[in-house]
């Protein structure tokens, strides 16, 4: 989307309508991305649940928002900083468990749960990050995988008394939002048509917040520094910047996003599965992010929608959907690194090329 684009915007041909110039300027503004996200959460449910065939359903829409938050954060690490973690499930699952266990034993107000989840994820990310980031490239990927699996087996085995092991944690107890608004409360009239119910506002609200935060991060000095680190790490150090700290910051930030998402997921599902810590979940988020398009804020959203749609809807018809998705994934890695969003971008450029009079 319109983060400060690094692609040199070709100077439009002199006859381009002033309208397109104004549109460009508008797109560049941060508020546009936020407005787009808001528009998305208003329009998407309608489109998604009213497809001519194989429609989605509201609960899936909410699930998409939740996973999208996870993916957006993951992309900060992979797409911007260039670090591939194969163990991010540890933040997703770890924070989910923290939220669930907290709600069962202390207090289950959603915002508090999410706070607990995020703090847990940040702490985990600091610890794992300090250790895993000592090595780069392949070792980093394998180290994160190792840590992820370690926590999975911890939850399955020794910590089973707390996590309930294989069966998952079923004692999640979610209170009304802010103490008064039960998540199932619907809204009346027009309000209801747009905002559906309190739960939807919660998930959509955090989704918009996540998008806004990610856009801001990308437009902050971090956006430039992280990209520079991905392109030429040693040079960044010689510009006086502490590369290791910035990498850790990126890692923790991506963990925080996963933490928020994990907490929301526990609220949404009222349950924490031990599979949320498994390497397959880590693999899923890699696929989602890459498929959607790394290096952008909206790419991961597209990837999440596509993946979850196929996983939940198409899978009913085509049992080997994961095979198809796998093939798509390989194709994207091989030939279209910019992912689904990149293809959308190309189409958009093609369309505007036509509109501005085309090339000779």
């Amino acid at each position: 989307m319109s983060e400060p684009t690094e692609t040199a915007t070709p100077t439009e041909n002199a006859d381009a309508t002033g309208l397109l110039d104004r549109w460009d300027a508008l797109r560049e503004r941060e508020s546009f991305s936020v407005a787009a996200a808001v528009a998305f959460v208003v329009v998407f449910p309608f489109v998604f649940t009213n497809l001519p065939a194989y429609s989605g359903y509201m609960s899936l829409v909410e699930l998409i928002y939740i996973w999208a938050i996870f993916a957006i954060g993951f992309d900060l690490l992979l797409g911007y900083t260039g670090l591939l973690s194969f163990g991010h499930a540890v933040f997703w699952g770890g924070s989910a468990y923290a939220a669930g266990i907290f709600s069962a034993n202390a207090y289950g107000e959603p915002l508090v749960m999410i706070l607990v989840a995020t703090v847990t994820a940040v702490v985990l990310a600091l610890v794992i990050g300090v250790l895993a980031l000592r090595r780069g490239g392949i070792y980093f990927a394998i180290l994160t995988l190792a840590f992820g699996q370690m926590f999975y087996f911890l939850a399955l085995g020794p910590l089973a008394p707390i996590t309930r092991g294989e069966n998952g944690f079923t004692d999640v107890s979610v209170e009304p939002l802010l103490g008064v608004l039960d998540l199932g409360t619907g809204f009346a009239g027009v309000f209801g048509a747009v905002f559906h119910d309190v739960g939807y506002v919660l998930y959509a609200g955090f989704f918009v917040l996540a998008v806004a935060t990610a856009v801001r991060i990308v437009r902050s000095p971090y956006g430039a520094i992280l990209k520079a680190i991905a392109e030429n790490e040693s040079r960044v150090g010689f510009l006086g910047l502490n590369v290791r700290r910035y990498k850790l910051a990126a890692f923790v930030l991506s963990g925080a996003f996963a933490g928020v998402a994990g907490g929301l997921h526990t609220i949404h599902a009222n349950y924490v599965a031990v599979g949320s810590l498994y390497w397959i979940t880590s693999g899923d988020i890699v696929i989602i992010t890459v498929l959607g398009g790394i290096g952008s804020v909206f790419g991961p959203v597209a990837g999440t929608a596509a993946f979850l749609y196929v996983e939940n809807i198409v899978s009913g018809e085509i049992a080997f959907w994961l095979l198809v998705l796998g093939a798509l994934f390989v194709t994207v890695v091989w030939l279209f690194p910019a992912g689904i969003w990149g293809i959308v971008d190309e189409l958009r450029s093609a369309v505007r090329g036509r509109l501005t009079g085309g090339d000779t």
Partner: protein
């Protein structure tokens, strides 16, 4: 004043001694060239000073402060800088973005938690980036991706990055490697300009003798890890050890 000095700097890699008890003094405002045959330990010495490697023995002092064993970013923050042999830039970022990253290092220190502040709100950073690019004649191409610059301009950008932080001491690692005579002349002029206009102390690793004798106030000669000579260009010219080290000598 003595800006930088090394004291018995030594680096061993197992059995191999790459740098052997090297003492250097670099005065503020002068330009020192470090020369020697291939494998003499020139780059390793510079890497030891700039923090890329840790010395096995010895110390490095900058403005009388011990900086031995510090990390490159810490050393850079104190006023040193290094320009790389290859054009070490950020290829997929625009020229302007390249300069901005360098300016961030200069203005904000080695780390900041400002991930929620708009980059556009930092005027000082933008100004510094602009000045840096204008100085190198790259400002008019600021929106171009760095990788599409011709090689000579990439080198200039690389130099710009090294200078963005207004360093007091600049290491130049074979700046004219692979350049045409014209480009070499330009580079030499650039070095002289930096020295005079900005008062930067320069440490140069070079093989091209012409440049060395044109630009240097003093020359240090390394061979097989040890310093074998240290003096003015005239002194070095006549030094028998130096001539022998180059095996038959170079046309000096």
């Amino acid at each position: 004043m003595t800006l930088l000095e090394t004291d018995g700097l030594t680096k061993r890699f197992g059995e191999l001694t790459a740098v052997d008890d090297v003492d250097l003094q670099i005065e503020e405002g002068e330009s020192l060239s470090i020369i020697g045959p291939n494998g003499a330990g020139k780059s390793t010495t510079v890497n030891l000073i700039t923090g890329l490697l840790n010395p096995t023995e010895g110390a490095v002092r900058y403005r009388d402060e011990n900086i031995t064993g510090q990390e490159p970013h810490e050393i850079v923050q104190q006023g040193l800088s290094k320009s790389f042999q290859t054009a070490s830039i950020f290829p997929d970022l625009t020229v302007r973005r390249n300069a901005i990253v360098a300016s961030l290092g200069a203005e904000h220190g080695s780390f900041s938690l400002n991930f929620l502040r708009r980059l556009g709100s930092y005027n000082a950073v933008a100004d510094r980036a602009r000045r840096t690019l204008e100085d190198m004649g790259l400002y008019d191409r600021r929106d171009v991706k760095a990788k599409s610059l011709p090689y000579g301009d990439k080198r200039r950008l690389e130099m710009a990055l090294a200078l963005a932080g207004d360093p007091d001491l600049l290491f130049l690692d074979e700046p004219t490697a692979g350049m045409s005579p014209d480009e070499t002349d330009d580079t030499v002029e650039l070095i002289e300009r930096i020295k005079e206009e900005r008062g930067v102390t320069i440490v140069l690793i070079e093989h091209d003798m012409e440049i060395i004798f044109r630009v240097s106030d003093r020359i240090a000669v390394l061979n097989r890890g040890s310093k074998i000579a240290d003096g003015t260009p005239d002194q070095i010219r006549g030094d028998p050890d130096v001539q022998q080290a180059y095996l038959g000598g170079v046309e000096i």
